[in-house]
Subunit: 190 residues, 2 copies
DNA sequence: CAGCCTATGTACCGATCGGTAACATCGTCA
DNA sequence: TGACGATGTTACCGATCGGTACATAGGCTG
């Protein structure tokens, strides 16, 4: 019997496997058998470490949100005390990411679209984290002295979500590659 | 045995049932049993009228695209010979639609997100029709004398797709309700 | 009424899915 | 050595899925 646990616990291997597969193929598009096979473990190990497939999906979403937060924090670090520059830095980075060939958008947005039932726990978790992403944009805009902050916030949130899906709907480089220029257009008079 | 075909063929009943259910719950989220039950017919009737569930889904997507085209044509009719007004009319209408409580976005975008496999026939059909939607926006922008037409086209396409998903991700009225104002912001100097 | 054709229903298939039970095996540490 | 915790092995369950073979009902025409 092979024991490929090279210092990496089964739970961690499963989490990594689920992250790759959930992001590439969607949550509903991946079966637990595929997850454990890709992780080099067996099914009972998955259910010893996680409550259910939905529970594992929730862990995946939390992890994905953490990655998104690092993008926000990087943008803040790039332009300290310059909310306009932070917004532009974020959208420049987003445009670059969305131009890569295997781009699959935002795991949270994808999950919301995958689960139309508002009461599904996976969707609720994704929607909660997605709101936090919109809140970051809103917080940057309030630091600006914009004439119409609500319109600007809505525009930037819609732009962000647009890049997430356009990166999948159109062959790269699609419209998402110009997200930075579009953000500058929205911010042109602030 | 009941014969509930009140002048409406089984194929038509199935098409109507599939349209409602596919739009509300997604294509993958609806089983053929649910479709035929909602249509008041039985499963073999579905497979006599349509090649497969995927084939029925393709018909649904074509129908959905026709609806989108009527929105474009209405915008053109509202402001003849005024591409800027046509764009604004379209986004005003989109904002109104996206503010309704049961809004579920664009069936084409939803289908693309539901089928991550680029080779899946349902996704290919959805992507083809989605490109046609982006082409309409591009055609309006070329009629404008914009300084940066590529950026403007990308911005409007991203705005449109953003409304499609934000209408589902955020409780109404979400950012999509301001799509008209955002479009005016993007078009402010043309 | 006989015969036929078309539309429809009944019952089923094989595959896949998420999830579980029971038991075997390994490494570690006292 | 012996006990323990973590993992692997095998086999299975019930539900759901897309899809189909076969029987049946109704209307038309002779």
């Amino acid at each position: 019997m092979k024991r490929p646990t090279l210092g990496v616990s089964a739970a961690e291997r499963i989490r990594n496997s689920a992250r790759e597969l959930f992001y590439s193929n969607g949550i509903r598009g991946v079966g637990v058998d595929e997850i454990v096979q890709n992780a080099g473990v067996t099914k009972p190990s998955l259910y010893r470490a996680y409550e259910s497939k939905d529970g594992l999906a929730a862990v995946y979403l939390d992890e994905f949100y953490k990655t998104c937060r690092t993008y926000f924090e990087e943008a803040e670090a790039t332009c300290p005390d310059d909310p306009r520059g932070q917004i532009l830095a974020y959208f420049d980075g987003l445009a670059e990411r969305a131009s890569r060939p295997a781009y699959r958008g935002c795991g949270l947005t994808n999950a919301i679209l995958e689960f139309p039932d508002h009461d599904h726990p996976v969707r609720q978790e994704a929607a909660r984290l997605k709101q936090a992403m919109a809140d970051w944009i809103a917080s940057r805009v309030t630091l600006l002295d914009a004439r119409a902050p609500e319109t600007l916030t809505s525009g930037l949130v819609l732009l962000m979500e647009g890049v997430f899906v356009a990166g999948q709907a159109f062959a790269p480089p699609g419209p998402g590659a110009r997200a930075g220029a579009v953000a500058r257009l929205l911010l042109h008079d602030v």
